[in-house]
């Protein structure tokens, strides 16, 4: 494992060496450290493959992947689409028009309809917590959660972890601050589970109105002051202020929010000098993150996160595909 990190340029055989014991990837909660390790190690190999000229693989040739998105998404959907295509699968994108109750009524029907078309893997994003798990009960194929409500977004947490691991060489023992709109964030929940499982220490920094009640019971330290919270951290994860999920007033104004919780050079100076800045995107520049900080090539790994996203999703698709009938194993590229 450490060898693959030290010398990831080994694209000759990106085949799964360990198995992933789950049929679906619905969340990080419930995965063991071993499971996460397997996913990250496997992802690592695809990073180099994705940087090569010839990116095409054939391990999922003949397989059908449906990206079923009940909620708008460009980056996650594109990332999954690329991942599937690079593994040789046929990828179909379905965006289901959204209008609150209507789509909920059609969720199970949609699942049953799609199931009848015999997809091999489904990637699902839905605006309601728990909706992807509900759908997974109704289909015969493997399901990847592409984000459900405020619950989980497992591939985002995995790509964040891969980014950190490649930069810092480890996850264990790192001090990670997750800042901003924790309440509405599925990214935060998945990251908390993952980082805790892998032995990192997690701080949440947010005004109390943007923290779920009893957040402290999730095994994290809570801060309401950015400067105190950022002190000596290795990683600064910023979250998007999810104004579309705001029912009622959570912060007085975006101006006030940026003043107290927006990441700028001054607040960042409290973190370790080599602290990395992360953001799951899309960014609200000037609301949760200062443009200069976001574009600081020495500190910001925001674009790297996007790159890792494709590798992580390839790994997830391939490891889940192992559970499909007639799995023939990975064909090394160029053969």
């Amino acid at each position: 494992m450490s060898a693959s990190r030290a010398n990831p340029a080994d694209p000759a055989a990106p085949r799964p060496t360990a198995t992933f014991p789950h049929r679906h990837l619905l969340g990080i909660e419930g995965l063991s450290a071993q499971d996460i390790q397997v996913l990250l190690d496997h992802s690592d190999r695809y990073v180099e493959l994705n940087r090569a000229v010839e990116k095409k693989q054939s391990s999922l040739r003949g397989r059908t992947i449906i990206n079923l998105f009940f909620e708008n998404s460009t980056r996650t959907r594109t990332s999954f689409e690329l991942a599937g295509k690079r593994l040789g699968a046929d990828v179909i994108n379905m965006s289901v028009a959204t209008s609150s109750v209507k789509k909920g009524e059609t969720l199970i029907d949609t699942a049953i309809t799609l199931n009848a078309m015999h997809p091999d893997l489904l990637v699902v994003r839905h605006q309601d917590s728990g909706a992807v798990a509900l759908l997974a009960q109704k289909v015969g194929c493997g399901v990847i959660n592409g984000g459900d409500g405020s619950h989980e977004h497992p591939t985002q947490a995995l790509l964040d972890a891969l980014t950190i691991r490649r930069r810092k060489g480890r996850l264990e023992g790192l001090l990670v601050a997750i800042c901003g709109d924790i309440l509405h964030s599925r990214v935060a929940r998945s990251n908390i589970h993952l980082l805790n499982t892998m032995g990192a220490r997690v701080r949440l920094i947010a005004p109390p109105t943007l923290l779920p009640a009893y957040a402290e019971r999730m095994g994290v330290e809570i801060y309401h002051d950015m400067r105190k919270g950022l002190t000596d951290v290795d990683i600064v994860m910023m979250l998007r202020l999810q104004m579309e999920r705001f029912h009622g007033s959570f912060v007085p104004s975006t101006r006030e929010y940026f003043h107290f919780y927006g990441l700028d050079h001054d607040k960042l100076s409290f973190a370790k000098s080599d602290a990395l800045i992360m953001h799951p995107g899309p960014m609200n520049r000037g609301i949760e993150i200062d443009t200069e900080v976001a574009d600081d090539i020495h500190r910001s790994v925001i674009h790297e996160q996007v790159e890792m996203g494709v590798a992580v999703r390839m790994a997830c698709l391939e490891l889940l595909a192992q559970h499909l009938p007639n799995w023939r194993g990975t064909t090394p590229p160029g053969m």
Partner: protein, 435 residues
């Protein structure tokens, strides 16, 4: 033709109103109880004109009175009707149900109260007592004709699962209702605090990424209403309470002599927030399943008499309302057929004495609703329940008489069930011997 006189022999007579718990017999004539007691003449002296019903040593108590039932008729007959709900009630040992007014249309006019009474007389095997809305359309704006509605037969007034949020209106309703000594029943939930919430605000909601209904939403509205009681001399029943703080508030109010009573539903003393598990919509209910400490507080409050009434909060939903992502699913649990065994759990696990539990299901609600039933006494209506206290069984949703199946108890092991339910002297339910 059935004989007018019936003798229930070989029974364990349980009358919570008087504390009676004795082996004996009970005689009814027509729709009334005539006599009861350990020394009531043996069956031989009643030969001929009297039907003998051997209770085989099982318990005989007043038929249960369920103060909180949604029957969905008129308007949502695909979920439940007065007829199906009444059959389910009979199978659960319940002889009277109070029907919530949240139907379509809302029961807020005299003609509609009469409609419920008429439909009940035509189709229901148990007594269906209409509750009328406090505000027109349960919109929380304008008071209904409380006095006329009461005259038409409304036994209580409530906006059902909607809290009366406007404090001025609530004050006036309590004040006006006191003219006729009417009972107001409040769903204690401050709407602005609970808005958008789908389960208890707490650790589980935080983990599942679901919006929470905080415990204080209940306590704040309750404490407000207690203040209003002090200045109105009204009579208030807090329908379903679920938190330790709420029970403390009720205890203090009762000590001050205010006319307040409290109710609880079985799910709030038999389940906690962990039963939501991974988004089980059958466990989505109001008040929400709370933390374990609050669940225990409900049991304590029943034991010390803070809770006067246990009612099922029977809320039928069709599968399409529950087979949805958690946030979109409807609230509600059906409970008519599990009310008795779930309540008896508290007896079997030693938490509350049997007669105290039965009081919450019989004489206490009868007193609040000013009913003659709910007790075993000569002259009282022959609304009776013969039940098996001990036999273990497993809840099976396929066997529910209710049209709806939204019960989180499917598969739960319970003890005790109704054997025979008698309304006005007539047997409306008799359990067939199973297995």
């Amino acid at each position: 033709m059935a004989r007018r006189r019936k003798l229930y022999t070989n029974a364990r007579l349980l009358d919570p109103a008087t504390g009676l718990d004795v082996k004996g017999a009970l005689l009814t004539e027509g729709d009334r109880i005539v006599d009861l007691g350990p020394k009531l003449a043996t069956s031989s002296s009643f030969a001929g004109d009297t039907e003998i019903i051997d209770c085989q040593g099982h318990c005989l108590c007043p038929g249960l009175i369920d103060m909180h039932v949604w029957l969905r008729e008129p308007g949502a007959e695909h979920q439940e009707t007065i007829a199906t709900g009444a059959r389910a009630a009979a199978a659960g040992g319940i002889t009277s149900v109070v029907a919530m007014p949240n139907t379509d249309p809302v029961i807020d006019e005299v003609a509609l109260v009469e409609f419920i009474a008429r439909r009940a007389a035509d189709t229901a095997v148990v007594r269906v007592l209409p509750a009328a809305a406090v505000t027109r359309g349960t919109k929380g704006e304008e008071m209904t004709e409380l006095g006329l509605l009461a005259q038409a037969g409304a036994v209580a007034f409530t906006d059902g699962d909607r809290a009366i949020a406007n404090a001025r209106l609530m004050r006036r309703a309590l004040s006006y209702a006191s003219t006729f000594d009417l009972l107001l029943m409040q769903h204690c939930e401050e709407p602005s605090l609970a808005k958008g919430g789908v389960m208890n605000e707490g650790e589980v909601a935080a983990r599942l990424g679901l919006a929470g209904i905080p415990a204080i939403a209940e306590t704040i509205l309750l404490e407000r209403d207690i203040r209003l009681l002090e200045v109105t001399n009204g009579r208030l029943h807090a329908s379903h309470l679920s938190t330790r703080d709420s029970f403390d508030a009720v205890r203090r109010a009762k000590l001050r002599g205010l006319r307040i009573t409290a109710g609880a539903a079985p799910h709030n003393f038999s389940l906690n927030e962990y039963d939501v598990g991974d988004y089980r919509t059958f466990a989505k209910v109001k008040p929400p399943l709370r933390v374990e400490e609050d669940r225990k507080a409900v049991v304590d409050a029943i034991a010390d008499g803070t809770i006067d009434v246990i009612s099922s909060a029977h809320a039928p939903q069709d599968p399409e309302s529950k087979r949805l992502p958690f946030a979109q699913a409807e609230f509600g649990i059906i409970g008519l057929e599990t009310l008795l065994p779930l309540t008896l759990e508290l007896y079997h696990n030693g938490s509350v004495p049997l007669l105290k539990l039965l009081a919450c299901l019989t004489c206490n609600p009868a007193k609040l609703l000013k009913l003659e039933s709910g007790r075993l006494a000569p002259g009282a209506p022959a609304d009776l329940l013969v039940f098996d206290l001990d036999t273990p069984w497993r809840v099976d949703e396929k066997k529910f008489r209710s049209k709806a199946k939204n019960s989180p108890y499917d598969g739960r092991r319970v003890q005790g069930h109704a054997l025979r339910t008698v309304v006005g002297g007539e047997t409306v339910f008799q359990r067939k011997r199973e297995g």
